[in-house]
Amino acid sequence: MNDLLHFTFFRNALFISIMLSLLYSTLSFFVVLRNMTFLGAGIAHAAFGGVAIGIVLGLPPVYTALVFCVATALIIGRLAQKRVLSYDMGIGIFFAFSMALGAFLIFVKKAYTFDLSGYLFGNILAVKGEDLIVTAVMLVLCAGFIGLFLHRLLFMAFDETNAALSGVPVGVLNGLLMFFLAAVIVLSIKIVGIVLVSALIVLPASFGRLWSHDFRRVLAAGLVYTLCVMVGGLFLSYVINTPSGATIVILGTIVYFAGMGLRAGVGKGARSQAAGATRFNDI
């Protein structure tokens, strides 16, 4: 394992995975609580259109994807807020449009030579030092945003109408949440890939909610889970020589269902213990 850490590409991948784990677990909490899990998939697929625009224009695909995804997320959010389209309808339309745009542009440009598989399913060799810097900046910005507005974001997730009535700037916070979600999804493309990243927007909070009804513990459990799955999946992918994104998501799904089984077992144990105590008391 120490040998592995001597490789710069692997160290880059490890550091970016740790930083992304913090971002996933926090943003996942708000996405899942607000029943916007489909939004992660929608924005991730929009990234394909953004990557294709970058390739056609000869610009860095990650940055064009970032602009395209943020714009898409803000448009979907705005349309939903104005009740022009529901979130699901907006995502469904932009999801397909962005994929179609990507396929169209790649066909027109005849750009078949770029690493399509790497963008779709992740390629840790592609992670560069500059990606670490951009991710670290995003982590600091996102931590500041959540730290400043945690309780307002909780209020909004609990009851948006009442939050707005009580003076919470719902429109601005929604926009910022969409921005960070889009940014994190784009930054994940190299490590997890466009197709698979939505799983990491859903799984952390879903796992955390198995264990607690208190948001502090849900966030903590989600963070521990994401760190284990990202770092574990990364090492595993190297050892068994498989794509990093696919390995991380398969491991994450197995751990989630194992957690669900364990939780059900713990619940059943507690219930039978309680029933036993009742029977004992009856005697």
Partner: protein, 250 residues
């Protein structure tokens, strides 16, 4: 509220509404689904602006009153996350946090208000319980506490009894009477359950786009008013602590 008309898109939702709500009263708005009840509440709170007519609360615009935190609002059941992962005190603290500036934390006064609000609704012992594990009636009490923690002067409730069983409903209505009498709150409550709410209201308005009646509850329950409001013949039986049939049987 005088001669208020509200249109949403092409639909005339409220027509020529004139209402006056006295302070320290429980004012009930009853009517069928789609009759404009929630729209009326939103207009009172200044969320929707009337197309014509005027609305004044304590002689000020509803928006000003809302900004000053005078409205405590309890939303409809489907409007908030029932299984939200937060402790009861976290839920009550939400309205206190919403009134703070960016980096401000809760002060001793805020914490006292939160504790007092939970005491007022008899939920102090559940302060550290998860909200998601409470019963429907207990959740409603916590949401009332959340509204009270804001120190409101008007409590606005949108269909608060939906999904509660008879015992929980009765207990909830007793709590409203206590809040009116002990905290001098004005309570405006919307419901389509005329039978239950008419026993606690000081004033009632029957609403189906227009106001078909506005006055004391007993005078409202005429076949004519009920037909105009609910659109069909309804036979209404009044049963409360003053029920004459029960007294005769005893």
């Amino acid at each position: 509220m005088e001669s208020v008309n509200v249109r949403l898109g092409h639909d005339q939702v409220l027509e020529d509404i004139t209402l006056q709500v006295e302070q320290r009263q429980i004012f009930l708005i009853v009517g069928p689904n789609g009759g404009g009840k929630t729209t009326l509440l939103k207009t009172i709170m200044g969320v929707l602006a009337p197309n014509t007519g005027t609305v004044a609360v304590f002689d000020q615009s509803p928006q000003t009153v809302r900004r000053r935190g005078f409205f405590g609002y309890l939303p409809q059941k489907g409007q908030y996350a029932q299984d939200f992962p937060a402790l009861v005190r976290d839920v009550v603290a939400m309205t206190r946090f919403a009134q703070k500036k960016w980096l401000e934390v809760l002060t001793g006064k805020d914490k006292r208000l939160i504790e007092q609000a939970l005491l007022d609704v008899d939920m102090a012992e559940f302060s550290r319980h998860p909200f998601a594990t409470l019963s429907g009636g207990q959740k409603q009490r916590v949401l009332i506490a959340r509204a009270l923690a804001k120190e409101p002067r008007i409590l606005i409730l949108d269909e608060p009894s939906t999904g509660l069983d008879t015992v929980a409903q009765d207990s909830f209505y007793q709590l409203l009477l206590k809040l009116r009498d002990e905290q001098n709150l004005t309570i405006i409550m919307v419901s389509h359950d005329i039978g239950a709410v008419s026993t606690i209201g000081d004033q009632i308005a029957c609403l189906k786009r227009k106001i078909h009646f506005h006055g004391p509850p007993q005078a409202c329950m005429t076949p004519e008013n009920l037909r105009k409001t609910f659109g069909r013949n309804i036979h209404f039986l009044m049963h409360d602590q003053n029920c004459q049939t029960c007294k005769r049987r005893k």
